[in-house]
Amino acid sequence: MSKKITVGPVGYMPQSAPSMGVELSPKGQALLYGNIVTEEEAMRDAAKALLTMANPTIFPGPQVLWDWKDDVAEKSAAILDLAAEIPNCRIIPMPDYRPKYPKIDAEAEINPNHPNLTILHNKIKAAIFIGVHCHYANLSLRMIRAGTDCYTIAMCAFMGHEEAMASIRDVHAEDVLRFKDILVQVRNELGIEWTAKMPPENPSLPKEDWGTLTPADYGEYRSLLMSKKGEHIADVE
């Protein structure tokens, strides 16, 4: 199989995958390196990338981070089940799409206007995009292919993404779990030993004992959160 879309960096001014002739896969099929393949084949290659490349990361987007409709909780739970099975996986969310002022915390979040910053800062070599609106996912995936050597996997609720190395379409909770099963299978085939473990929580969240937290513990964020006069913040979480 010749690879139409390869792991980057492809250069300063990337050519878009559709302009290189890549077309979205029909229902029931997937894209792997720009070619239409079975879902199983794409999932196996994606699983292998997540298991063998450094710092595998899941980038969940707004559609799975917020509980805005009934089927989200189930899908989100499935994503976390998947994350637990990927050795040393991290979760770095894309909580919104605005150009954020003054800058993002590259360890805590990824932003579609410069997704390469988070990838490069954390030396991420394989990543999943899920729950990101298609327009922003396409922009991000293209910029990542342009400037990083990250293997990208798109798990899209709609039609998939030409720019990703592996693109799975019409993804719902059960498809995430199916991918998890395939990943475990590939992991066993590769002889990688791993006990399911949840990824570490967001590094921007304070590690202090909540019971004794004071505004001073918020350091540079102090101005963003102040207790009321005489109030002691104790009921976080």
Partner: protein, 291 residues
Amino acid sequence: MSLRYMIPVSKFKKYLPKDYVELVDYGPFGKDYSDVGVKNMGTYKELVEEHPMCSGCWMAYYIKIIFASLPNPEDTVTIGTAGCGRLAISQAAVPFIYGNYGDQNAMASGITRAFRLRFPDRHKDVITIAGDGGMMDIGFSMTMHAWFRRERFTTIMLDNEVYGNTGGQESGMSMEGAILKMSPTGKKFGKMPAMQLAITAGCVYVVKMSPTNINKASKAIRRAIFAARTLGPTFIHAYTSCNIEYSIPTNDVFRDAKEMEKGRFAFEEYMTPEAKELFAQIESKNKREVS
């Protein structure tokens, strides 16, 4: 239930960046204005915090007041245009739409009508926030016609009497005689009578003010939003100085705003009898509602 879209999936909460978690736990969404309004600024997670406005910017201060005054931030959309204001507005935790130059009131006409189609039983507050250039020059026709058509949304003009973001050119709201870029020999005509235009065009509630008192500023904003829900267009003309282009030392920005309050931005409030009745109802129902 609209609040759902800002509540994280519980299992994902610990993977969210801190400022988003705080926005939900300590933000104003779904809470009472008396706890999370202008009077309590600094004690809760505000909707607009970090922004790239200039030091001492009176507009940035007023924008913070606007967001702290929203009666229903979880059901509010703001619309703006080119200018300084959008730099801060676009960082707020409220959806913001930016179209083309000066088109904010036309966009708002479209979106408020669409909201009323999709959510006939609910209020979705639409507020256009733009500068004097965006409202009274390039967007003049769209501003005026939205009012003539009685479109039910709130228009807030941030009047700094100059094109601040593009480097200090004369605007229709600059003072007669002002020497600015594009008026090298001084402006040849006076400020456009925005308040009178709004009244003539059919706004049901109109305020002109220099927002030196946050409670008073907030009250006007909330009244404008409440009246726009059912009665018709509302307009606030606020003085938000440009300390850069008018060379106002940072320390004197507040003093300048106070002086304006005694002069051409003396507080004026216009309301139709229907608006007056509405405010009486709202404000008697909850004494704390509008202070």
